[in-house]
């Protein structure tokens, strides 16, 4: 699947809109960066707006996922709410839809069982990262500060909305 580079453009009122360009897949970030700079130069002269940013989107194949099937009782409104603390003191929220019931601590509590292997694996991935070829990638906050602790992990339900 081709990579997509999305340019965000603002007009005089600050309203933003996007234009996207699909480009050759399988290259590295430096190639897409070089393309984006050249395209931004030409785009800037073609428009009146201000180019705010460019983001390269990659859509990996899902073939590497295991057991990727929904149960009939699963519901996106039943979520696992996680909140983490970063090294800079900021908070990171992560919601997991279609929460598996086995993750819940007890039925008189809305806390998730952090000792449950599946819950523990998610927390470990968020706090200490995941090893990849050539390094370890650790999730962070919007400022790039690493997650250092889990504040809470609990069950929650979203509003289904009213039925007509």
């Amino acid at each position: 699947m081709s990579q997509t580079i999305v340019f965000t453009i603002a007009d005089r009122s600050g309203t933003e809109a996007e234009t996207s360009v699909r480009v050759t897949s399988g290259l590295n970030v430096n190639h897409y960066q070089g393309f984006a700079v050249a395209f931004a130069n030409a785009l800037n002269n073609f428009i009146y707006g201000k180019i705010l940013r460019a983001v390269c989107y990659v859509f990996p194949t899902l073939a590497g996922l295991v057991g990727n099937v929904a149960t009939s009782s699963s519901d996106v409104e039943h979520v696992g709410k996680f909140e983490f603390l970063t090294a800079s003191g900021e908070r990171v929220k992560c919601n997991i839809p279609c929460l598996a019931e086995a993750a819940i601590l007890a039925y008189d509590s809305d806390d998730l069982n952090q000792a449950e292997p599946e819950v523990a694996a998610l927390i470990a991935a968020m706090e200490t990262g995941i090893a990849v070829f050539g390094g370890t990638i650790s999730p962070c906050d919007a400022g790039g500060s690493d997650i250092v602790d889990t504040i809470f992990a609990r069950e929650a339900f979203r509003n289904s909305g009213s039925r007509r």
């Binding site: 800037n44 009146y48 201000k50 962070c140 906050d141």
Partner: protein, 162 residues
Amino acid sequence: MPVMVTFTIKDGKGKSSNTKIRLPDGFNLPQYVEFAMSFGNILLNLSEGVITGISIGVPLDLSGATIRAVASTFADVAEKALLIARTAVSGLFARFNIPTFDESQVVTGSDEINVSLPNPAALIAIIENGVNVGGTQVDVEDKRDNDVTDVYGAFKNFRKYG
């Protein structure tokens, strides 16, 4: 600006929701893909839904580009240019909608863009021929991964707004 990985999860009733994770920059694309696969499997052990899509958004550095610091007073996102291009496969096309189009670039008396002007010509040249980055060719493609070959239509195309 961190990299954003988005997992789209669908439940047994067909409704979808997203889970987003921010990652630090500085890694290459295969590393981010490897992370996404590993994290996706962790999610699947905790979720009863099905992951229907993963996207990895890597911010690009445009500091090397010459970009106006402030939008012109004439700029409006509803004033768009539409470019239509053929691709390497006959019968398949690509479309580009570009907001805040500079209207001074149309042919007088029509809504067609004057593609012989330097600015439209430069943009169309990149769409048709791609960019060579350090010896590696980066081409523009359609949604089926076919190379764009030529832009055959360029028009002013305003959208409803307000």
